[in-house]
Amino acid sequence: GPQSQTPGKPRIALIMKSLANEFFLTMENGARAHQKAHADEYDLLANGIKDELDVAKQVELVEQMVAQKVDAIVIAPADSKALIGVCKKAQDAGVVVVNIDNKFDDAVLAGQKIKLPFVGPDNRKGARRVGDYLAKQLKPGDKVAVIEGPPNAFNGQQRGLGFDDAMNAAGMKIVSSQSGYWETDKANQVAAAIITENPDLKAFLCANDSMALGAVAALRAAGKLDQVKVVGYDNISAVQTLLKEGKILATADQHADQIAVFGIEYALQLLKTKTAPADRETPVDLITAESLAGK
Amino acid sequence: MHSAGCLLRVSTLGKSYGPVQALNDVDFDLRAGEVHALVGENGAGKSTLSRIVAGLTAADRGRLEFKGQPYAPANRKDAERQGVHMVMQELNLIPTLSIAENLFLDCLPNRWGWIDRARLRAESQVLLERVGLGGLDPNLPVSQLGVGQQQLVEIARSLWRRCEVLILDEPTAALTDPEVELLFALIQGLRGAGTGIVYISHRLEEIQRIADRLSVLRDGRMTGTRAVSDVSLEKIVRLMVGRDLDSETLHESRTAGPVALAVRGLTCAGCVRDVSFEVRRGEILGFAGLMGSGRTETLRAVFGADPLERGEIHLHGSERPARIRSPRDAVRQGIALLTEDRKAQGLLLPLAVRANITLAALRAVAEKWGLVRRADEAGVARDWVQKLAIRCHSEEQPAAELSGGNQQKVVVARWLFRDCDILIFDEPTRGIDVGAKFEIYRLLNELAGRGKAVIVVSSDLMELMAICDRIAVMSAGRLAATFARGEWTQDKIMAAALREHLTTKPLSRSDDAPPAARN
C-alpha cells in the first residue's frame, strides 16, 4: 500500500527480481516487517519485476527510484552485468546503492572502477552442500540429471556449477543438464523425457524447488519415486511435507527474509556513517528431513 | 480476320471451375463505337467472360484478339494499360479509404511517394461531377456511401483512363432512374468517341434503349449475336431462358386481409423523418424512391437492425406497440428482412449453400437439444435449391462460388424457409436474371396469396408497378405519397420521389456524418 512519507526520514528503495517467485516475496515481507519495527528510522519502497528475465523493467525501476529521489537503493539485480551502468548512474546522483542476493560481475565492477557493496549468499557453495549431501546417498558412477534455471540467470548458473562440483567430486555421471525455466510444468516435461531416456537414473538435482515439484510429479507418473532421488533449492513452504516424506531429499535455505534486512541495515549504516562496511556473505542452510525434525 | 472496326474478338473460349463448365466454346466480337449487350441467366457465364477479357481470370482454352493482335492480359493492370477496363459486378471499393483515393488507387498522384492531395482532390472532383456525384466531398470515406453511390464511384474509376474497351457488369443493379439516365448519357459520349462497350444487364428494357447488338449466353454457350433492332423483348427472353415467360400473371388480384404491420411516426437518426405506413396481410407494398431516399433505413429500423429515435410499430392490429430492439425480436415476431447488400450482410460466403439456407431456422432441422439432423437439413436445402432453381453443383458448394444472382436466391431461400408473416425484401431482384426475376415475382405473389404481408423495396420502378398492390414513395427521408394500384403512373411516382428535393434542401451525405456504417 501507499507509504507514509514523512520528509526527513531516509527513504530506501528495495528493488527485487521476480515477484512471481516465492523467494522474493519472502524477501519483501521480511523487509516490510523490518520497516514496521523501525518505522521511525526509514521509509521503504519495495518494487520488483514481473519475471526475472525482464531486465529492462528493472533498469527502469532503478531510474524511477532515482527520479523519486530516494536516499538508498537496495537491489537484487536480475542480471549481473546489465544493471551495473544504471546503478553507477544512481551512485553518481548521490544515491547509496547496496547489492544483495545476486552479486554483480566482479570483472566488470573492477574494469569500471565501481564499488558496490554486496550482501548475500553464495549460491554455488549452497548448491555444492546440497549436492554433497545427495552424493552420500549414491554410489560413484550413478547417473544423475540436472534441471537448471533459465540459461542466463546468474544464480541459476551458480547453482548448476555447485551441483556439478559436487557430482564431479563424488564421481557421479551427469547424463543430462537442461533448463526447466524455474517452472514446475516445464521441469516436469523435461524430467519425464529424461527418465524415459535413462531408465537407470538415480537422481535429479533441481536448481529450485518449483522445478523439484515437477520432477517429483514426473517420477510419480513413472512409478519411480523410490528409485530416483530429488534435491531442490530455496526451501519453499510447499516442499516441507515432501522433505519429511522423503520424496525430496534435500534443499537449501538462503533465508530470504534476512537478506533484504541485512541489505537495508547496511544501507542505513552507509547513510549514517558514510563509510562502507565489508561485503557480507549471508548463510545458506542445508535442509533435510533430519534438520526439519531437529527444529 | 481483322475487319475494320472490330476491336476485340474472342474465339472458342473455354473456362471451367471444377466440374462447372462456366464457358464453353464461346465466340464474341466487339466493334469500336458500339454498345454490345451481353445477356443471359444467372450463372450463364457473363461475368466469367468479362473477367477473362479484363485480365482478372485466365481462360482454359481459346484465343483473344485485340485490335488484330493476339491479346493475353497477364492481369488487370496489363489489360488496363492496353485500354481494356471493367466495372465489376460486385463492389470492390476500399471502405476505409476516401472516395478520391479509391478513384485513383493504382496511380495516386504523388511526388516521391508523397501524395499530392490538392491534385487528387481536384481530379476526383471532376470525375465525380461526370457521374453526377458532384455534391460529394472526395475526402469522405467510402464506408459512408450507400450501395448506389458506391456503384457510381466504381464507374467513375474507369472513366478517366484511356479507354478503348469498357465492360460494365450490371452497372445499374443498384441505381435508380436519374442515375441510370446519367450513366446512359456517359455511355453515349464514350460510344461517340469510339470506345467499344460491353454492357451486361438483366434489365432488358435498358438494353433495348442503348445497345446496338446483343449476344445471349446460355449455360456457358453463346446462342448467337444479333442487332437489337431485330429482336423483341419476348424473343430475347426466349433466347435466354429457352421458353416463353408469361408476364400476364405478374399480378393476381386478391383481397387484402387485416393490417399486419403498422408503422407510426418512425424517425431515426439522420435520414428517416416521421414515416408512417401500414401493410396488410395478402398485400404487396412497394417502396419507391431515389437513391438515398431512406427506404433501406426505414425498413432496417422496422426490423430492429438500427436503433430508432421515435416511432411505434404495431403488429397484427394490436394497439400496444411491439417491442423490437433487435433483429432477433423482429424475427421472433414474424418479420423477415432480406438485406440489400447480400455479400456483407446476408451471406456466409465460405459456408455451404445448405448452411446459408437453414441459418435463420436451424432449429427446425434440429433435435430439441440442439443436434442438427444432417439428412433433414440437406433435404431442406436441396428442396429450396430446386424450387428456386439455384444453380450450384450441390448444396454443399460454398456460397462464395455461386454467381451473383444465385447468391441472391440463396438469401431468399433462407427467409422463405424461415416462413415469417411479414416479409421485407430490400432489392430482392438486384442482379437476378429475368427468368429468376419472374420466379421471384411468382413467389412474392404466392406469398401474398398465402396471406403474408410483403414489402418490396426496389430501384426498378417497372418492377414495382408490375407486382405491387400499393406503392409508397419516399423522398429525402419522408414518405411523400402512397398510391394504390391503378392510381399510379410513372410520372406521378417520379414527381413524388422528387417532391422533398424541390421544397427542402436535400440531405447531402457530405455534411452529415453517417449513422453506423453499414458496409
Binding site: L19, A20, N21, E22, L25, D51, P151, S176, S177, Q178, S179, E183, T184, D185, N188, Q189, A192, A193, T196, E197, P199, S210, L213, A217, R220, A221, A222, I236, S237, A238, V239, Q240, T241 | Y17, G18, F303, A305, P327, R328, A330, V331, A336, L337, T339, A344, Q345, G346, L347, L348, L349, P350, L351, A355, L359, A360, L362, A366, G370, L371, V372
Partner: protein, 320 residues
C-alpha cells in the same frame, strides 16, 4: 458414395498433420534410445491433457473470430483457488474443485461480458484479464506454491491401461467438442458468427449469447486443465500456465484453425497439440541445448503449417 467421399475427405483433411507428426516421431525414434516405446508414449499422453483442453477451448474462440490471451493466467488462478481452498480454507476436495471451476467460468464470463457490453476487441479484454487473473492468483496464494499432498491424487492417479483419467477425459472432451462444433446448432452458430457476425445478427440470431457461451466454455475447460495440472503436481503454483496462450493458439493454428474466424476443427487442434508435445518430449530426450530447442521448435511450427498448405493444394488439385 456420399458416405465414402465424406470419409475420404475426413482422412485427407488430417493427412498433412499426420505426416508432420509421423515425421517427427520417426526422427526422434532414430535419434534416441527409448523414444519409440509404450512407456514414452503413455508418458506423453499423460502430459498433454491440460494443453489439449485449453487448445480445445481456444479453437472455439478462434472459430468465433475472437482470441483469448487470458487462458494461461486463468489456469494459474483456478489452480491457486483449488490449492488454497484445500490447504488453507480446509474445504473438502469436491467443493474446492467446484470453486476452481467456478473461478474459470467466472473469468470466461467476464471476458465475454465485458467485450460484448462495450464492444471491445477480445484481444485487449483478455490481455487485461491476463494481468488481473495472474494478480489474483498471487493474491490468493500470497505467491506461495501450495502443496496438496495426496488430497486429490485420484484425479491424476486413476489409470486405465496406463492412460490416466485426465487423458481419457480430455479425449472424450475433444470428441464431444468436435461433435458440438460440427453437428449442433450451437456449433453452427459459432462458425456462422465467426464468418459474418452481421449477417448472423440480421438473420435474427443474437450473436451475444453465443459469444458469451464460448468464453464461458473456454473458462471451464481452462479451469479443468488447472485442476488436472494441480493434481498431477500435487501442488498449486500461482505461476502455472505462463505463456500457455501462445502454445494453445499455436496448436490450433498448426491444426489449420483460422485466426480470422469461421474455420477450425478440434481434431486438427488435437494433432497440433500432439506435434507440440512430441517435439518437446523428443528434444528433451535428445538433451538438446536450449538454443537448439528454440530454433527447432520455431522451424517445426512453421514447417508443419507449410506442409499442411501443400496438403491443401494437393487436395484442391485433385478435386478440380
Amino acid at each position: 458414395m456420399q458416405n465414402r467421399s465424406r470419409w475420404h475427405a475426413g482422412l485427407t483433411e488430417y493427412l498433412g498433420l499426420a505426416a508432420a507428426l509421423a515425421l517427427l516421431v520417426l526422427v526422434f525414434s532414430l535419434s534416441t534410445r527409448n523414444f519409440f516405446t509404450t512407456t514414452n508414449f503413455t508418458t506423453i499422453a499423460n502430459q498433454i491433457p491440460a494443453l489439449l483442453l485449453v487448445a480445445t477451448g481456444m479453437t472455439f474462440v478462434l472459430v468465433l473470430g475472437q482470441i483469448d490471451l487470458s487462458v494461461g493466467s486463468v489456469l494459474g488462478l483456478c489452480g491457486s483457488v483449488l490449492g488454497v481452498a484445500i490447504t488453507q480454507w480446509k474445504w473438502p476436495a469436491g467443493l474446492a474443485m467446484l470453486a476452481a471451476l467456478g473461478a474459470g467460468v467466472f473469468c470466461g464470463a467476464f471476458n465475454g461480458a465485458v467485450s460484448i457490453r462495450w464492444r471491445l476487441p477480445t484481444f485487449i479484454v483478455t490481455l487485461g484479464v491476463l494481468e488481473m487473473a495472474r494478480g489474483a492468483a498471487h493474491a490468493v496464494t500470497r505467491s506461495q506454491t501450495q502443496y496438496l499432498g495426496s488430497a486429490i491424487d485420484w484425479v491424476a492417479g486413476t489409470n486405465v491401461l496406463g492412460l490416466s483419467l485426465p487423458f481419457l477425459v480430455a479425449l472424450a472432451i475433444v470428441a464431444a467438442s468436435q461433435f458440438a462444433l460440427t453437428r449442433t446448432v450451437f456449433g453452427r452458430y459459432v462458425v456462422a458468427v465467426g464468418t459474418n457476425e452481421e449477417a448472423v445478427r440480421l438473420s435474427g440470431i443474437d450473436p451475444r449469447p453465443v459469444k458469451l457461451a464460448v468464453f464461458m466454455l473456454t473458462g471451464l475447460l481452462v479451469a479443468l486443465a488447472g485442476v488436472i495440472d494441480t493434481a498431477r503436481f500435487q501442488s498449486a503454483n500461482p505461476n502455472a500456465g505462463l505463456g500457455l496462450e501462445l502454445q494453445a493458439i499455436a496448436a490450433a493454428v498448426i491444426g489449420g484453425t483460422s485466426l480470422m474466424g469461421g474455420r477450425g476443427s478440434v481434431v486438427a487442434t488435437f494433432f497440433g497439440v500432439l506435434i507440440i508435445a512430441v517435439l518437446n518430449s523428443g528434444l528433451a530426450a535428445i538433451g538438446a541445448r536450449d538454443e537448439t530447442k528454440r530454433l527447432v521448435t520455431g522451424a517445426v511450427i512453421i514447417g508443419a503449417v507449410i506442409l499442411d498448405q501443400y496438403r491443401h493444394r494437393l487436395e484442391r488439385g485433385r478435386s478440380t
